[in-house]
Subunit: 231 residues, 2 copies
């Protein structure tokens, strides 16, 4: 950071770091691992290889933050309290701002679960896909903080849904109301009506929270893994 290195730039080779700091290879390598674990650098072997500055990607940041909440006892209530605050804000923010291509992308997500699920596996996939709607929507926000937080919370919920099998037994009510709210929301976004978009999203959150609570409030006692990831 103090050197002002940008993503893609190469750090000095192991050999030169050894010389520069007067330390042994093992020590230097441990230091590099510390940076690598944080997602700040990546290393490549071979000629032209080396250690390179890396822009921390969302997946890594979310996984690292997930480690923190592995030890906290998050409830469905906790997560939805935050979602109820953030999601309507996002909806209002994006109303009238989306291109036709973006609106079509959102429609495509909805269409992936507008038909009733035939079995438990499909039910699970639709559950995850309906949370993916929010991740896709957040992706369209110009606010990196809001975007990250909404995708992170949706991801946690997706994790809980999959690992705790909250999709089983099938909840037709949750499925139907979710599709209805998201369709209404899409219309409001297209119309550019921020107030309606905010209200619909707020109702959507409150409704989903109640239905999820009914499926049973459960804590996250698990690392975020690839399973159930939205990206």
């Amino acid at each position: 950071m103090t050197e002002g290195w940008q993503p893609g730039e190469r750090l000095p080779s192991e050999a030169s770091l050894i010389a520069r700091f007067g330390m042994a290879k093992g020590t230097i390598r441990e230091a590099i691992r510390i940076l690598e674990a944080q997602g700040l650098v990546r290393s490549r072997t071979g000629p032209g290889g080396g250690v390179f500055v890396n822009e921390v990607v969302e997946e890594r940041a979310a996984a690292l933050l997930g480690n923190y909440f592995y030890f906290q006892k998050l409830t469905i209530d906790d997560i939805y309290q935050v979602r109820e605050a953030l999601e309507p804000e996002l909806a209002a923010n994006l109303a009238g701002q989306l291109s036709d291509a973006q609106l079509q992308a959102l429609e495509a997500v909805i269409s992936s679960y507008e038909a009733p699920a035939a079995n438990a596996e499909e039910e699970r996939d639709q559950h995850v896909a309906s949370l993916r709607f929010h991740a896709v929507l957040a992706e369209m926000s110009g606010n990196p903080l809001l975007r990250f937080l909404i995708r992170f919370t949706a991801n946690i919920l997706s994790e809980i849904t999959v690992t705790r099998r909250l999709y089983d037994p099938p909840n037709h009510e949750l499925w139907a109301s979710g599709v209805a709210y998201q369709s209404q929301l899409l219309a409001a976004l297209r119309d550019g009506d921020a107030t309606v978009a905010r209200d619909v999203m707020r109702q959507h959150m409150r409704s989903a929270k109640q239905l999820m609570l009914r499926q049973e409030a459960v804590v996250t006692q698990r690392f975020l893994t690839e399973k159930g990831k939205l990206w």
Copy 2:
């Protein structure tokens, strides 16, 4: 994680990990460093020492997440959009829930900046302390996610304020309105009036945002003038 180890429990010694995985000492140590960088373990030398499972602490989680936003270039607008959504929710949530001791703790924070600052250094400290009010308030929330997010955003703002010297020149208006809003908020929290608490906090956020944006504009102008860059 798969072994179900809890914070405080000891991992196998380096020697046994070397034997168990059939790898060299350096390789095992790099693996441990990866866990340590994430805040998941800590290691101690000496007899009775070793590598221990560690509950990821908030500071570490915030620092790791901060690495992500180091590359995302957040604006004052971005941060306040999230604060405007989350802080009123927290205020409403805590109304009527705080003990006398907690209310007094909040009063103590406010009192640290209710007298006008004498110089720039004091001005800076008061700026930071007024953000600390929100961190202390969030600490009292039973929602770990909401608590973390509010403390994280307040921390980012505190950093921006200090590194970009947003406290200079002194802004008497920001200082006075901040104290007034926080005092009103405290009264509402004591009265247990969630609606008023939410509204006061919302107003506080909107006001603070406007004033911060004005400070930012001042800083930008000063920067451009100092550099002699005109366009």
